[in-house]
Each structure stands twice: as structure tokens, then as C-alpha cells.
Amino acid sequence: MADKISDETMEHVTKAKNKISDETIEYVGILAKLELSETEKQNAKADMEKMLDYIDTLNELDTSRVEPMSHVFPVNNVFREDVVTNENHMEETLANAPLRGGDSFKVPKTIG
């Protein structure tokens, strides 16, 4: 997101039909696990309001008798026996670790 709030953004804020509150942006930031600066938050609000205004055109459609479609083809669970088919990749996998401790990924303390 841009570093400063553009004039276009400021102009939009006064026109948007959808209003995103500071609390909502805060909450969405928690869900998204993103830490946004104050400027980024203001830009995100404007971006989201503009997108939601646009997405609201879908409300012109009567979908009350339409089932939501997640996949165009029927998708079923695919089960298989839990059999190991690949060799041990421990070293290659750990080679990608940002921080390694012995044969483990090292992370900050997780339990108080």
C-alpha cells in the first residue's frame, strides 16, 4: 500500500456507500495476521470501501433460488491408505528453516 494517502483516496472517503470502521480494519488485520501502519490502515479502509461498493452490484441479481457453487465439477473426498511413499526429506526440509534448532524448526516460545 502507498505510503501516503492520495487525494483520490481522500475524495473517495467522503463518497463511499460502504463504511468500514477503524474497529473493523483492526479486526480484519487480526484475521489476516497483518500489522498495518496508520497510513496503511487508512488506505486499506478506502480500498475496501471502494471494492465493496463495486461488489455490491451483485445485489442486483436475485439469487434466492440459486445454490452456492464452490466447484464446477462434483468434488468428493479422495481417500487413500496412509502409506509412506517418499523417502526422508528431513535435511532438505530443514534447509529451508529460517531458524533451526537441532532437527527442529526453532520458533519463539509458544506457551506462557
Binding site: 500500500m1 502507498a2 492520495s6 483520490e8 473493523t24 479486526y27 480484519v28 488485520g29 484475521l31 489476516a32 495476521k33 497483518l34 500489522e35 498495518l36 496503511e40 486499506a44 480500498d47 475496501m48 471502494k50 471494492m51 465493496l52 463495486y54 461488489i55 452490484t57 451483485l58 445485489n59 442486483e60 441479481l61 439469487t63 440459486v66 445454490e67 452456492p68 457453487m69 464452490s70 466447484h71 464446477v72 465439477f73 468434488v75 473426498n77 479422495v78 487413500r80 517418499n86 526429506h89 532438505e92 526440509t93 534447509a95 529451508n96 528453516a97 529460517p98 531458524l99 524448526f105 520458533v107 519463539p108 516460545k109 509458544t110
Partner: protein, 481 residues
């Protein structure tokens, strides 16, 4: 003979006949990369050493008659969102800038089995989110036809590399038009197959219900050959579809007599550039002159495709990109206080603006209180859009349309207004929502010399109909060099 001007299939034949070696072709491609990259920047990684090693081994196996595929020994490039074991796979993102996968994507494996020489990994919009290749962490790719213009996106590096002859063909991925739109902008042939045709195993997911890998090539013959090589049923991808026929090259015949072609009138509205509209109509006339029955019709629901797409794609992206947290691979922020702070800082520093924008939107539309109003509403709209295509395919074998409303925009003009950029996908996103195959083929250039692409859309599993129509068009017009 200019070795670089050969198509992939032509080169494959000459390699098989012993007229050119895989090593000569590989060296020629690497020299072209060295010459063109400062101008194009189509690659994130060029694996010179690896490519030469592959060429040597593959040449031996061709001579031993072990490798008989039409693509054996032909140099290729892979979009940087497909995993190759031990080779940098970045998705053009800072968060994966140091990631080396422990396995290879199935589509790439299929190419390796066919004897492809992989030259490197191509640039893309970060996590395939963008329409210009300008959101790449490594900087934009330039359009080989005019380097002041973008190549399109998100498979912009793959399309530019083919157009600049830095490889003989490439693989791209298409979630909302990411193969077809840059193919149109770069003057190459690109196809998004029917959902489930090419395994997504090892393709780093953006919108899983929409993502599909496909070929980017110099001509229609190459497109059929590459699709034949990469398509397969794969038990490692639960959405993979078992198809009856995997030989797409048999569709390469000049025959569109009686082919019912429909042009959606609602695609030819205000937003469509007049030069593009003219070129598409002229291309439709070529098919008509060769015996196709071309009609106009009203597809309907066109303006709802983009809002439905952005809800669904962003929702899936927000979920798919949760895995990037700085624990097991990729970038980790250098300073943090505790686990949650590490997650947040890693992601905030590791993702670019467009990726964050879509993760935020996706998290919002999936959040309690908004899920029904946005996410389910979009899935219901998707069902309506699919029904509109089903109805169209009762009357037509092929839907003929532009691939994009304009030719390639100038660099630096798109990112400031995301909504406007999203509108450049208006003719391509609905094809992903409905899971259909779509192909883009060059049909001329505008006054500035920038290529225009025609999109052919088929019903599910009708790739061969698209290839036949495209091949007939190509033959009738004389292939552009």
C-alpha cells in the same frame, strides 16, 4: 538458419533428426537470454549450469531412442509459482525469496519426462495477483514489442520470454486470465485448459478452485504439443479430472466447416478499444470465410463476473496464504517479540501491497457476519454465470471474444487504481469461474505496434475444438514470424 526462430515442434524434429543438438539449442537460448534480459527482465532465475547439464543428458537419451517426445531437447521456462526440487521458487515475493522446494510440480515433472530442458523460472505478479507483472518483488517485466509497455500478467515473464525468443515455450498459470491476457499483450498463443486437466500439485496456490496451469507458445501446433505433454490425471491433486483422451495434437486440422461460433454482443461495449474490436471482428470473418457459422448473441451477466471473481479469489487467497508465517521456510522478520508478533511482522514485511489488499478483502468476506452477504453471494453468482455459459453452448461450439479490452498499457500506469486494473480481466475471469477452456491467439497489432489477441472459449473438455479453430485461423492468415 536462425535456430531461435524455429517453433518448439520444428526444433524438436530437427533435434530428433540430428540436424541440431539439444546443447546447441540450449546455448542459443542462453545467449539470447544474456542479450535480451537487460531489456525484458522475463526471468527471476536463469539456471545456466543446470540447463547445460540437462541438455547433455537429454541429448544422450535422444540418441539412445529413450526420449521420443516431440519436445525432447527443446528449451523451456517455467513460471516461478511452480515448484522445482532444489531450485529457487519465489512466486516473485519477498516472503519466498529464499525458498527451495523439496519436490517438483507434476506439470513440470511431465515436461521433464518428455525431455524438456528447463532454462529457468519466469517473473510474475507477486503470488499471481496482478495484471501487469508490476507487483513482482523483483521488479517488472517489459513487453518485448515495446519496452515502455507492460507484458500483462500475471504470467508476464513467461509470455515475454517466449515473445523475446528467450525460450521456445513456457508454462504459465491462469486464475482469472493470467495466461490469456499476457499472451494477448505479447503476441503469443496461450491456453487455460478445462479446470482439472493439468495437475495443480506443486503449483503454489492462489485461488485453488480457479487456478489452472497451461502452455504459452509461439503457435497453435506447439500449444497442442505442450498441452499433450503436461495434461495428466494425478492422484496427488484431488480436483484432477480423469479424461478419456490426452492427445491434443490430433486436433490440428484445417476444418471449421459448420462450426457454430458465437460472439457475445455484451463484450463489445464502451470499455472495448475500437482497434481491438475491429481486429476481433476481422478474425471472426476469417473463420466465417472458412465455413464457420458466425453469429452474435447476448451472453448476459458479464458485469457481474469481476465482482464475483474478486470475492472468491480473495477469499481463497486469504486462506491459501495463511501458511506463509516465517516458521518452516521463506522470509522471517529479523526482530520480533513472541510468536504472534513474529507472524504479523513476517507477513507484513514479506507481502507486497496488492497481496495484502487481497488477503484483507478475503479475510473480510469470510468473516462472520459478512460470509453470507459476500462469499455465498459470489458463489451463487458463479452458479448463474456457469448456467449462462451452459445455455450459450447449447447453440455454439465456440465463443469468440477479445482476450482483453485494450492492448498492453504503459508501464507505471496501472497500480494506482486497482479497480481499473481489475477491469482489464473482464473477458477472461468468467471462464475461470465456469471452469472452461480458453485460448488466446494473436490476430494483429494496433497502430502502436502492440499485439491484439483473440480469445476462443469452449465448453468443458473441448480443448480440441479450440485448437482446431485456432489452427484453421493461423493457417488461413499465414503465421506471423
Amino acid at each position: 538458419m536462425d535456430i531461435l526462430s524455429l517453433s518448439a515442434v520444428e526444433l524438436g524434429k530437427k533435434i530428433k533428426a540430428g540436424e541440431i543438438s539439444a546443447m546447441e539449442a540450449t546455448k542459443a537460448s542462453l545467449a539470447q537470454i544474456a542479450a535480451e534480459e537487460p531489456r525484458i527482465h522475463g526471468y527471476v532465475t536463469v539456471d545456466e549450469e543446470g540447463a547445460l547439464k540437462q541438455a547433455e543428458e537429454i541429448q544422450k537419451r535422444i540418441e539412445n531412442k529413450e526420449l521420443t517426445s516431440p519436445l525432447a531437447g527443446v528449451p523451456t521456462a517455467i513460471k516461478d509459482n511452480m515448484c522445482i526440487k532444489g531450485q529457487l521458487t519465489t512466486c516473485s515475493s519477498k516472503i519466498l525469496s529464499n525458498f527451495k522446494p523439496t519436490y517438483t510440480a507434476e506439470a513440470v515433472k511431465n515436461l521433464q519426462k518428455a525431455g524438456a530442458v528447463i532454462l529457468g523460472k519466469t517473473n510474475m505478479d507477486e503470488f499471481a495477483m496482478g495484471s501487469t507483472t508490476e507487483t513482482s518483488y523483483f521488479g517488472p517485466t517489459m513487453n518485448p514489442h515495446d519496452t515502455n509497455h507492460v507484458p500483462g500478467g500475471s504470467s508476464g515473464g513467461s509470455c515475454a520470454a517466449v515473445a523475446a525468443r528467450e525460450c521456445y515455450y513456457s508454462l504459465g498459470s491462469d486464475t482469472g486470465g493470467s495466461i490469456r491476457q499476457p499472451s494477448s499483450f505479447c503476441g503469443v498463443v496461450g491456453m487455460k485448459p478445462t479446470y482439472g486437466t493439468v495437475s495443480r500439485y506443486g503449483l503454489i496456490a492462489y485461488g485453488s478452485s480457479l487456478d489452472q496451469i497451461g502452455p504459452i507458445t509461439k503457435d497453435v501446433t506447439d500449444c497442442a504439443a505442450v498441452l499433450t505433454a503436461i495434461a495428466s490425471w494425478d492422484k496427488k491433486d484431488s480436483t484432477s479430472v480423469k479424461r478419456a483422451d490426452y492427445d491434443f495434437t490430433s486436433a490440428l486440422t484445417e476444418d471449421v466447416k459448420g462450426l457454430r461460433v458465437g460472439i457475445p454482443t455484451d463484450y463489445f461495449t464502451d470499455g472495448l478499444n475500437l482497434e481491438v474490436a475491429g481486429a476481433i471482428r476481422a478474425a471472426a470473418r476469417v473463420l466465417a470465410e472458412n465455413g464457420a457459422v458466425v453469429e452474435e448473441f447476448d451472453l448476459s451477466l458479464v458485469k457481474y463476473a469481476i465482482p464475483a471473481y474478486y470475492v472468491i479469489a480473495s477469499a481463497e487467497a486469504s486462506s491459501n496464504l495463511e501458511r506463509f508465517d516465517g516458521v518452516k521456510y521463506g522470509y522471517r522478520t529479523p526482530e520480533y517479540e513472541g510468536l504472534h508478533n513474529m507472524y504479523k511482522k513476517t507477513r507484513s514485511e514479506g507481502f507486497g501491497a496488492e497481496v495484502k489488499r487481497r488477503i484483507m478483502l478475503g479475510s473480510f468476506v469470510l468473516s462472520s457476519g459478512y460470509y453470507d452477504a459476500y462469499y455465498l453471494k459470489a458463489l451463487r453468482t458463479k452458479a448463474l454465470i456457469k448456467a449462462a455459459f451452459d445455455k450459450a453452448f447449447e447453440s455454439y461450439d465456440v465463443i469468440l471474444a477479445p482476450a482483453a479490452p485494450t492492448t498492453a498499457p504503459e508501464l507505471g500506469k496501472s497500480l494506482s487504481d486497482p479497480l481499473k486494473m481489475y477491469l482489464s480481466d473482464i473477458y477472461t475471469v468468467s471462464v475461470n469461474l465456469a471452469g472452461l477452456p480458453g485460448l488466446s491467439i494473436p490476430v494483429g497489432k494496433d497502430k502502436k505496434g502492440l499485439p491484439i489477441g483473440m480469445q476462443l472459449i469452449g465448453n468443458h473438455f473441448q480443448e480440441k475444438t479450440l485448437l482446431r479453430a485456432a489452427y484453421t485461423y493461423e493457417r488461413a492468415t499465414g503465421k506471423e514470424a
